[in-house]
Every structure is written in C-alpha cells, then in structure tokens.
C-alpha cells in the first residue's frame, strides 16, 4: 500500500450497529403517542409474548448513527457517478419539495374525487407528456420499476396474442447483450427467452433474427440505443421482420435518455415501451429504489393496459379500472404505483419543457462522445471504435488484463480512491473486461476532464505498480470484502446475545 493511501485511514472505529446503542430504559420518548383511553383487550393466544429486539436508543443516537452511515456512501450529490445504463444525473431538489407538500404527502390513495383533482391533473398531464416523448398512444403509470414495466409489457403482449386465439406464441427474442431483467421478465410471464446474436459492429444480426422468428414468436425486447452504447441502425428492418412473423416489439426504456426529443420509440415501430422515470426523468435512485416504470402502448395494445389509468371526462379526472378496460391485464399495484415518484418526474418534466427534452439527448450524447474521445487519446480502447457513442460507451480492458494482469474490476475499485464512483463493470457480458460509462448531461466539462485525468493516472499505476490496483480501494471505509465468506457463512441479521 502506498504511503498516501495509508495516511487516509481513519483512526475512528467503524460505525457500530444501531443495536449497539441500546440501553435498557433508554428511548426517544417524545415520539411516543400518548396512551389516552382504554384499548380493547386482545385474546391471550393472539398476543405477542416478548417484545421484538428493536433498538432502545435516544433520538440523538439514532440521528447521529444514520448521519454517519450516510457519510459512508458515494452518491450523485457527493461524487461523479458514471454508472453505465443507470443515468445517474442530478436529482433537482424542487421535485422532492413538491412531492412532499403536506397535501400530496398526506393524500390517501382511496380519497374521494373531491380531494383528488389536483393530484390527478398532474398524473393526467404526465401521461400526456410521456405519450409525447415516446410516440405512443396510451400510457399507464402504475408499474413501480423498470422490471415491473417490463412485466406489464410482456403480459400485454401475451394478452394480445391470446385475444386473437394465437396461443402458441411464447418465445421472447432478446439480443445476447440484453439486460438480465429481459429474460427474467419473459420467464415471469410464462415465456421463454431466445437469444439472437449481435454482429461485430454492435447491431443485431439480421440473418440470425430472420432465422429465429416464427409462429412461436411472441415478441422481441430491445433497447435502442442498445446495451452496447450504439444506435441500432437497422431498427426499421428489425421491426418489419418481427411484425411480419406475427410478433410485437418491446422497447426497454433504460437508454431513453440518449434519444430524448430526437427520435421516438413509437416511430421506430415499437408496440410497447417502459420508461424508467428514475433514469430519464431524474427521480432519485434512493440506494436501490424507488423507481417508476410507466408503460406506453401503441394501438394494438391499448385495450390491455394495466389499471388504474387516469382519464379526463368533462373537466374532471378519474381513475379507470377493470370495468372501463375489460381486456386489461389487471391490477399490478395495490393503489396507483409510486405516486410520489410520478409527482417528482412530473415536476422535472415541467421544468425541462419541450426544448429542455431534446437538450437532454443532445448534451448526454455530447458528454459521452467527448469522454470517449479523451479516454481513447489517453490510451484506452473503445469496444466499438467505428461507431458513434450514444449517451454511454464501452471500453474494453482486455489488453491491460493480458499484459499487466489488471482487470476492469481493479480499475473500478481504484477509481473509488480517486473520488469517482466506478462505471458499470462486466456488463454487457458480450465484451471482455469492459467498463460501461455513462456521464449524463448534467456533468460539466471540468468534471469530465478530472475523470479522464484520474483514468490516465490509474493507467500509469497499472504499468508501474499493478499490485496497488489489485488491492484497491485503499481509502474507503472498508477494503475489498470477502464475498465468498458472506455467502458461505450466512449472517443476514443481528440477534441479541443469548442470556
């Protein structure tokens, strides 16, 4: 370990588990509701015998504990976070402020029409804006994440074929570089994923696609730009092949940021799309969620949308249910999905406006192509050097792995020491030792240059002292963790010591 790295180690002990703050008799008393009135008795055999082992700590202990834990995280607000396929752009504070206005935060999902019009107006307008950017004819907002939107989409495709008496179509075609959620969703919907090859130039192999489609084809799931960070140039031909075979086209909206305001999935021939509002429309990722995976549909799938959908009828808004949409795939959420996330996305879209939408596509693509150009100048190798980058691009480090024994994981971990979150590593699986890098439009030229400087410095280190990289990171709260032990000696919950 280098001396500078050693000097960054803190002398403070690691933050204890919250349970270690517990002392019998301690508590955040001012938070306890007063116990007026008599509660009815619960029959003894249904009562809890012993209290659960939750912390017994002061409010200050808890506030300090979670404040300290937060400081162990990298986040968009603290670090450049160029995680490919995840669109880690700035999350404007106004979106959160609006969603947490007391009337919105306190609105019950089953509130009467009289106390719903303001909220539903936002939701209706959000549906309309999402139709506009996607080029689709209907939008349903309830799916709660990208994968949930995928589920809705594939379930609609199945319902469509079933409504035509076409019962054998159970194959979902996915390119070999597809997101893992695509084949997993196919399975959730009782379908089988069938992979098609991608050519050396990054586009789908059309001959392989023609050979794959047939009377069992339910549809194809594609991202465009693809997971390889390039635009699928033959998309119109892909649509023709799949439609002529009787299948439908599903657009995985993970990469919508790249083409926002430039080209619309509906115009490319897609029948259904999910949009990750937590990517393109900048709602927070929250350390793993919540997301929102609104779905848009073309004319074939309009009758099958999941409920509820917001309708406007003579100036009043109301939620449509199964009675209004009898062919609907049904209800996928207890109420109407991640409404507070939808409000945040609505506010963001209103602040961007019409022109702001296409600027997103412009500057996300500019930043990505600039970063790629500078990294190539610094000696890094592009996976698709002949292609324009979209909003993200792939570097392949297989030469470095061969010559210096330094892997993509080593580079990723060393970047943390330089104060940058790592790009996506080892996805897509198709490219050896890859880094998938997505800067987003909200990063400045200065931040991108600082990232290039860090990557160049790490490249130097790889030549001189590869061990430094193998053992990175050196300045984080922990060093590399023993994942094998984590899986073999499962410790998934704290338990009080037996007394």
């Amino acid at each position: 370990m280098s001396e500078t790295a050693a000097s960054t180690q803190s002398l403070a002990p690691p933050e204890p588990l919250v349970f270690e703050y517990s002392r019998p008799g301690r508590g955040a008393y001012s938070l306890w509701p007063s116990a007026e009135g008599a509660a009815p008795a619960i029959p003894a055999h249904l009562r809890r015998a012993a209290p659960p082992a939750l912390p017994a700590a002061s409010e200050l202990d808890i506030v300090r504990h979670y404040t300290r834990l937060s400081q162990l995280n990298f986040s968009i607000d603290t670090h450049f976070y160029p995680l490919g396929s995840c669109t880690m752009k700035y999350n404007p504070r106004a979106c959160n402020a609006a969603a947490l206005m007391p009337e919105f935060a306190g609105r019950h999902p089953l509130a009467s029409a009289a106390h719903s019009q303001g909220f539903l107006a936002c939701m209706y307008e959000l549906q309309e804006m999402l139709k506009g950017v996607s080029g689709m004819q209907g939008v349903a907002l309830s799916p709660m994440a990208g994968a949930h939107g995928e589920f809705a989409g594939v379930a609609m495709i199945r319902a469509y074929h079933r409504s035509r008496g076409d019962l054998e179509r159970r194959e979902i075609i996915v390119p070999e570089a597809a997101h893992g959620t695509n084949p997993a969703t196919a399975a959730m919907c009782g379908c089988v994923a069938r992979e098609v090859a991608v050519g050396a130039d990054g586009d789908v192999d059309l001959a392989a696609l023609r050979a794959a489609v047939g009377p069992r084809t339910a549809g194809i799931m594609l991202t465009n730009p693809s997971t390889l960070g390039v635009f699928e140039r033959h998309i119109e031909e892909v649509a023709r092949i799949v439609h002529e075979a009787g299948g439908l086209l599903y657009y995985d909206g993970a990469n919508l940021n790249a083409i926002l305001g430039k080209v619309r999935p509906g115009d490319m021939g897609f029948d259904v799309i999910h949009m990750n509002l937590h990517k393109t429309f900048s709602t927070p990722h929250g350390g793993g969620g919540p997301g929102a995976g609104a779905v848009g549909v073309g004319p074939r799938l309009l009758p099958f949308m999941p409920v509820p959908v917001v309708a406007q009828e003579v100036g009043r808004y109301r939620l449509l249910d199964e009675k209004d949409l009898p062919q609907s795939i049904g209800r996928l959420t207890g109420f109407m999905g991640n409404a507070g996330v939808l409000l945040r996305a609505y506010v963001y879209m209103r602040m961007l406006g019409r022109d702001g939408m296409s600027r997103v596509g412009d500057y996300a693509t500019l930043n990505s192509n600039y970063l790629l150009a500078k990294l190539r100048q610094a000696g890094f190798v592009a996976a698709y050097p002949e292609r324009r980058a979209s909003h993200e691009f792939i570097l392949t480090l297989k030469e470095m792995a061969r010559e210096q024994g330094v892997t993509a994981m080593d580079i990723a971990k060393r970047l943390l020491d330089y104060g940058f979150h790592a790009p996506t590593t080892y996805f897509p699986l198709l490219v050896a030792e890859c880094l998938l890098i997505e800067p987003t439009e909200t990063e400045s030229l200065q931040t991108l240059d600082a990232f290039v400087a860090a990557m160049s410095a790490i490249r130097e280190e790889a030549l001189k002292d590869p061990e430094l990289l193998h053992s990175a990171p050196h300045s984080m709260p922990v060093r590399r963790l023993d994942d094998v032990r984590a899986a073999r000696e499962l410790d998934l919950a704290w338990r009080p010591a037996a007394t």
């Binding site: 009815p40 009562r47 106390h115 080209v263 990722h285 109407m336 324009r388 704290w494």
Partner: protein, 457 residues
C-alpha cells in the same frame, strides 16, 4: 439551460476534441426518416418558482381532509427525523450498492433493516424490500411454488377477507405462470376464515395457504389453528401482516406449532407518508431453509481484507443480473429509500414506542366505533377482536354519504359494498394515533348531520 452546465465555450472545446462540427453530427447514425421536429404534448419550460407555484395550487385543490380511511394505507405520525435523515443526498441520490466499498452506509442500513423486520416478524431471514405489500403477496405465492417441492399443483388458497386489491395483484402477477389461486369464504358472523370451512380442501394437493392478520376487515384471525391445518395438509403458510400490529400480536414465526413459512406485508405504516399510494415498501421474510428461493436483494455481514466488519450483497445467484431467465424474480430496482424510512422509524420508536403506537390506534378506533355506532342506523358488522379498523353496517347507500362527508372535509372511510355486495351498505373505517378525540367528535357530528339528509334504503 436547466440542469445543463455547458457554456458555449465548453461546447466548442468538446466538439473540437471529438472532431465534429456540431452536436447534430453525433446523431448521424439514426435513420433520418425517424428524426422528429418539435415535441408534441410537452409544454414549454417553467422555472422553479413557477413550477412550485403550480404545484402549490394543485395541492390546495386537494386540501387536507380529516382522514378515516385505512384499507391498506394508514395515516400514522412520522417523526421529523425520519425524512430529514433519508433525504440526505448520500442516501437519496445513491444507486443500488453494487460497489460495496463505496456503499457501506446503505448496506449496513439494509442489514439493520433485515435485523429489525425479522425481529418484528419472528422469522429468520429478510430481503431488502419488495415494491409494496400487494406485489409481496404475489412474489410470496411464486416463491411458495418453488419452495414446496412436494406439492405439484401450484394451487394457493387465499381468503376472500384479504384486501381485494392484493388479491387482484396476485392474480394478475401469477396467472401467466399457471398458478391457481382459490378464494376461501369467510364466516359471515365473525368475518374470520374458519378451519371448518377448509374441510373440503383436506386430502388435496395445496401448495400454500395465505393468512392475512389482521384481515381486510380489521378482524383478528385464529392464526394458530389455520397454520397447523395448512401444515398438516403439506401446504406452506404465507402470512400477510401489518407491521405496526406486531407490537401487540403474536409474530408469524410463532404461529401454530411450526410458525409461518413466509411472512410479508406493506411497510407503509413504518414511516412512509400516504402519498396517494406510494412509494411504500413491501417486506418479505422467511424461514432460513427457503432463503435461496427468495426474490430480491439480500445483504450479508462479512469481513474485508484486513478482517474489518463490512456488508455486501449476497446470494446474488438468485437474481436476474446473474441468473437471467432462471432468476427467482425479475425484480431489480426495489424500494430502498422507503426501506430506509422504515429502518429509521423502527430504530427511533423501538419496541416500546411501537407498542404505544399500536395501542393508541386500537383505543382511537374503539372510540371512533363507539361514537359512530351511537348514531341511528350505524351498527358494527362483526363482533370479536379488531386491530385498528372495523366494518360498519349502514341502513342506506354509502356512496352519497361519503360524498357529503367529503364536502365537509372528511374522508369517512372505504365503501365495501362494491367488493362485498352481500354486506349491503357497509363502510370500513380506521383511526390511527394521529386522530384526536376532537377529530372523532367532528366526524360523528358530521355523519349525524349527513344521515339526516341522505335517504334510507
């Protein structure tokens, strides 16, 4: 430009480095026939002041009625520290903790969540959250089919006294995988699912029995008897529970002789605002023997190269990014930030605080029921023990009553008549610790007035 920092000098520098004359050239690989001009359907931009003015006006339209609706979403008090902590940028704007060394804050919090929620449910293991309670029921049904290897039927019994939306979500989510969800009747007198009703299922292949405690009517079920019955049939038990109630009620891990196999629920009562239905978080806990059949992320404790304690995502071979088409679920993004709210809420309240909340809910609801049933034409539907909601029987249609109450700024409850036509006019009401005696009196007064003006059936 909103949220884009580039100066025109920056843009020139960048285009030069790339070697293109303008940004437009970067899109040259897109077939020109597909390119669009101005976007339809999107209005022009508002600045932050304008958008917040718009949102304030929309919020005022909805107002802040007095809420007596429960039905799966509960108006609990949320300590100020909860959202002040979880909206710190380091939690709010972080991604899924795939880079463990740079995500120890989120990872340790998830481990603490897993510890607390399993302490509450009395189960061995928990994942890091599902979308919400309803999807957790659906995922639990799919998990039970994988976990119960002796059962070949993929047949799951769900009580009709479970939330109708939860049942609808379970149906829509599992139908394409061939699961058979059969609805069990409840006793009209008590609102409970009774073991004697289940006699006709004995001897047949049942994969799992779902038990909701308290059920949709707020009624407490005989969970021990139902659990033992299911186990005797070779079925697994899926417990669907309200986490607040577990401060007082027997945890599913102790139901019957062996305990439930999977316990799930909606975490909304633990620090999540009502927010029109979401974001909330679902939780899923299970017996240790089923851990490899669980969907979603799980965090484990381990050590780093220097032997220091650390936390990491584990058992990832269950998940879609590794196992693809053979994963236990397609779930990727979950409800991490809301799980954080639940974690901070449980840590702040502790066992004693949570018991105060649950007890206060029960006494408020008792007060509410006493006040409302003192009115002519309002009667309780079921006797027996309740948690914090209850069904009232009315002598005239509910919809116009609720509308008249809404005009007086009161959300009076959830109309059950469309879902349970055999009840006739019936209303599910709820009072949490947030409702005061004055609120309850105001509701009783308003309802008394409204009943004078709405004609009896």
């Amino acid at each position: 430009m909103p949220f884009i920092p580039h100066t025109s000098a920056d843009v020139r520098t960048m285009l030069e480095a790339i070697g293109v004359p303008n940004i437009e050239t970067l899109f040259e690989e897109i077939p020109s026939a597909l390119r669009i001009g101005a976007l339809e359907g999107v209005p022009s931009a508002l600045n932050e002041l304008q958008v917040l003015q718009l949102m304030s006006a929309r919020a005022r339209e909805d107002g802040r009625p007095l809420c007596f609706i429960g039905a799966g979403a509960y108006d609990h008090f949320i300590p100020s520290a909860v959202w002040s902590l979880i909206t710190r940028g380091e939690f709010y704007s972080a991604y899924t903790p795939y880079q463990a060394e740079a995500s120890q804050g989120t990872l340790q919090s998830i481990y603490e969540f897993q510890s607390m929620i399993t302490a509450l449910t009395g189960m061995a293991v928990s994942n890091a959250s599902m979308y919400e309670g309803a999807t957790a029921v659906a995922e639990a049904c799919l998990m039970a089919v994988r976990a119960n290897r002796k059962s070949k039927s993929a047949r799951i019994l769900i009580p009709r006294s479970m939330h109708p939306h939860y049942r609808a979500v379970a149906r829509a989510t599992t139908a394409n995988q061939g699961l058979v969800l059969e609805e069990l009747p409840f006793a009209r007198a008590s609102g409970q699912t009774l073991a004697e009703t289940l006699k006709s299922y004995e001897g047949s292949d049942i994969t799992a029995l779902v038990i909701q405690q308290p059920n949709f009517f707020g009624v407490l079920e005989e969970v021990d008897e139902l659990t033992d019955w299911a186990h005797a049939q070779g079925a697994l038990v899926i417990a669907a529970i309200n986490p607040t109630s577990l401060a007082l009620l027997k945890p599913p891990g102790q139901w019957g002789a062996k305990g439930a196999d999977i316990a799930i629920g909606d975490g909304q009562p633990l620090g999540c605002p009502l927010s029109s239905g979401g974001p909330y978080f679902g939780f899923m806990t299970a017996r240790m023997e089923h851990v490899r059949q669980m969907p979603g992320r799980i965090v484990g404790r381990t050590v780093d190269l220097d032997g220091r304690r650390g936390f990491t995502l584990t058992l990832q071979a269950r998940e879609q990014h590794i196992r693809r088409g053979k994963a236990t679920s397609n779930i990727c993004t979950n409800q991490g930030l809301l799980m954080m709210a639940g974690t901070v809420y449980m840590a702040l309240l502790g066992a004693q605080g949570l018991e105060h909340v649950a007890t206060a809910c029960m006494s408020r609801t008792a007060e509410l029921v006493a006040a409302l049933t003192a009115l002519p034409g309002v009667r309780p539907m079921f006797g027996g023990a309740h948690f914090h909601e209850t069904v009232l029987r009315l002598d005239r249609p509910v919809a116009p009553i609720l509308e008249a109450l809404a005009a007086r700024n009161i959300e009076g409850g959830f109309d059950l008549s469309p879902y349970y036509p055999e009840f006739g006019p019936s209303l599910l009401v709820c009072a949490t610790e947030s409702r005061t005696s004055a609120d309850i009196s105001a509701y009783a007064l308003a309802l008394g007035d409204v009943l004078k003006n709405v004609r009896a059936a």
